[in-house]
Amino acid sequence: MTKTKSASEPAVNDFSITVGTVNGSGSQTANMALVRAFFKMGIPVSGKNIFPSNIQGLPTWYSIRVSKDGYLARSETTEIVVAMNKDSFAEDLDKLVPGGIFLYADDIRQDITRDDVLLYPMPVKKLVREVEPPRELRDYLNNMVYVGVLAHLLGIEVEKLQQALDFHFDGKQKPIDLNMAVIGKAVQWAAENIDQASPYRVETMHGTEEYIMATGNTAGALGSIYGGLQFSAWYPITPATGLPEAVMKYRPILQKDPETGKYKLVVVQAEDELAAVGMAIGAGWAGLRSMTATSGPGLSLMAEYTSLAYYAEVPIVLWDVQRMGPSTGLPTRTSQGDINLAHYLGQGDTQHPILFPGSVTECFEFGWKALDLAEELQTPIFVLIDLDLGMNQWMTRPFQYPDTPIKRGKILWEDDLENLDWEWGRYLDKDGDGVPYRTVPGNTHPKSAYFTRGTGHDEYANYSEDPETWDANLKRLNRKFELARTMVPKPEIHLQEGAEIGIIAFGSTHPAVSEACDYLTADDVKVDYLRLRSLPITSEVKAFIREHDRIYVIEMNHSGQLHQIITLDMSDQSAKLISLTYNTGLQLTADWVKNAILAEEEK
């Protein structure tokens, strides 16, 4: 699958653009205008921000892929490069495919080392000056020049750009007009100065009609709110910050009583992650639907408290928007490297269910489902996404209103206790499913109160160091975990006639993997694909593994953490479980998946 086309027949709706700018220069506005314009033209599109851990002045990239086939993973090739940053000029030029288009701001020109590409210097400063903008805005407007030039070259409808900017500036006329003026100038300049036809074009199609654009972080926040979230404590950390910030944004819109102005949802920015999780656990214990969100370093700090929540059986949802580790690692790069950490978080024997949304709309869905599960199972539930899914704008299905009522699990209030025909004990497994009944503070029934502790306790929540009591309690917790196995979201399975091998992947790699499946089919390597949506693995996952000759477990971390966890659950199948890991901080590509599998299959 090679993407370069001969100059004579332009590639329509099937190419990638990479924009290299300086961070802090406002290029997000320009890039989002392009992405949204493509989207409004009905062309499947994805945008990925590759930014440094810095606020201003360092190189940053944005790559946009349009694909009539709906392939939205990062592409390993780029057909168009826009160079706005002197420091990355050479590197950016190198990225381009032969025959590709290289746009650059004429004032940052460096040595041009290639003669196999189309070169267009843009008179950026000049064009911006022509619209006579206020001084302080000048730099920000620079980026609109490449938007305009690309509009001309690729055939982007200017009206769609206008819509994009309307949205971006929330209808504020002044900035919209100013930006549109620059775009206008740039389109005009391009029309007058570029006569060569572009080898890449866009055309209106109908590939986005049932979609919206959103980030996973926003979706997770909204999903939680529609899950009846009542309490969220958090501490800022990239790339998770957007999730609680979206909760704060939507709180006044969705959870404020219009009459009294009172909130039904509390958000506290804590002093650190130890406190954030502590507050969330306090709230969960006291009967509030409770959540926190963080990333790797913060999750490490939550270990001790999570161990308490596990053992004291406190419902709480923890979102981990993964970035690259170990340690501070690459805070602005993506990874799926916290699976082990989340699955076993805490000292002693702990194990936690994990949900893996594979799309933005699924972030919404698992947002509310996680809260249900936490209360039904009375245990911490993790939701793991990554920077790519969390922070980038994705086209996605609109959020679906929950199709089941809110589930609060086994909670007893005054009346329930009054009418009970058995003697309630906080940790008594009345139903034999491992999940006991709980009461929460404020319950005024004289039998409701109990004392919660992280130390040994018996079925009636009394302190106990008794060996058998301890052992029995851990065994019950294990039963609960086995119950979780039947309740967590089942995998999504894509089958083909005659496939003997299977892929297991999850989360943000879905677009790359499913694109790769098509390529593999085209190469006559038939492959089934199971998109995992949770841990512990369900019976469907086990069956899928049993039914295939070889299973490729694909993930973005170093040691193949999911592969390990599955191996432990299916050790009799371990010979067929093959780990494929990609761990550079960039998003997975279909080419990498295809090549990695072909290399293994040819062995």
């Binding site: 309490f231 214990w285 004392f451 302190y463």
Partner: protein, 342 residues
């Protein structure tokens, strides 16, 4: 059976406020705290179900098991009681939170959460049972131990002590007091006042560890406290209903009115000290520390400082009783959200 039980105005007897039998050492200062907490709640007619107890880890943090069995309680993690309490208290703002901690729990591992619960002014009676030592782990130095303290199996304390009261003052706590387990009467009055305060009430209680740090010259021993205590005032507490009836001896008593209408009466004891001036309080501590005095009493109070509940614009009815239907925003609203997503 025949004997008539003494009950409070709610009809509860003291045993309704009892906890499990104490497993603390005989004579431990923390037992005095347990006893006075029970007495204060009983006498203040607080239904045990309206109280909720939190603690960290330590002998001090075990104390909540020994009072109010009929109240919910959560014995959390070492140094992390405040966050637990903060989250939980939002569930039902009509509850009165009592947080028990130790000097190790608060001033060592717990310094961060201690500071931050105060700046949020979370309504919580925050009691630090301060014995200058780690009791439960058998006698290591705590951060409040005085310079030069010598303990068995430990090296002499080399570091400057942390003063809980001072920390609370600059941390802008809205209620700062110090008590002494050897002075139970004052302790009870302080607890009563704190139970009626609307905000974080920090009470640093010098509470001797008879097993590991009760040498006569230790600054956290009974003997030292008895000799060096300087009570700022004689303290009594007047519940809301009775405040009108109270008459003050001219010039000799100051009163502080709390937000529920109750009053704290401060009978002067030679010092001209009013607990409404943070600057003066800070200076008082500096002087006392220099002179090795153990200043006790109500050191600072600001009954008007807004609590986190005032600030957060929450409905008065318990959040944890909001019915499921009201928890989830409407189907229509999601339509709008989707529509606005581009």
């Amino acid at each position: 059976m025949a004997r008539k039980k003494r009950v409070n105005e709610l009809g509860y007897s003291k045993s309704d406020y009892a906890g499990a039998p104490s497993t603390l050492c005989a004579g431990c200062g923390h037992n005095a705290i347990v006893g006075q907490m029970i007495a204060a709640c009983y006498e203040e007619n607080i239904p045990p179900e309206k109280l909720v107890k939190f603690s960290g880890i330590g002998c001090s943090s075990k104390a909540p098991t020994y009072f109010m069995n009929r109240s919910f309680g959560f014995n959390g993690l070492h140094g992390r009681m405040p966050s637990l309490a903060t989250g939980a208290l939002f569930a039902d703002m009509s509850l009165i939170g009592i947080g028990m901690s130790g000097d190790g729990d608060t001033a060592s591992i717990g310094m961060g959460q201690f500071k931050h619960v105060m700046r949020r002014n979370v309504p919580l009676v925050y009691v630090v049972a301060n014995n200058g030592v780690y009791g439960l782990t058998k006698g290591q130095m705590s951060a409040t131990a005085e310079e030069g303290l010598a303990l068995k199996r430990q090296e002499q304390n080399k570091y400057m002590p942390i003063d809980i009261v001072w920390e609370a003052l600059v941390g802008r706590a809205s209620f700062v007091a110090r008590g002494f387990s050897g002075d139970p009467k004052q302790l009870k009055a302080l607890f009563k006042a704190a139970l009626h305060h609307h905000g974080t009430a920090v009470i640093d209680v010098i509470s001797p560890c008879v097993t590991f740090n009760n040498q006569d010259d230790s600054h956290h021993s009974y003997a030292w406290g008895k000799i060096h205590e300087v009570a700022l005032h004689e303290l009594s507490f007047v519940p809301p209903a009775e405040t009108i009836k109270v008459e003050y001896a001219e010039g000799e008593t100051a009163e502080v009115e709390l937000h529920d209408g109750s009053q704290i009466l401060l009978k002067k004891l030679g010092h001209d000290y009013e607990p409404d001036d943070r600057g003066a309080a800070l200076q008082l501590l500096e002087d006392a520390n220099k002179k090795n005095q153990l200043v006790t009493g109500l050191i600072y109070i600001n009954p008007k400082q807004k609590s986190i509940f005032d600030i957060e614009y929450l409905p008065p009815s318990p959040l944890n009783r909001v019915p499921d239907e009201e928890l989830r925003p409407s189907r229509e609203s999601l339509g709008e959200v989707n529509a606005k997503m581009f």
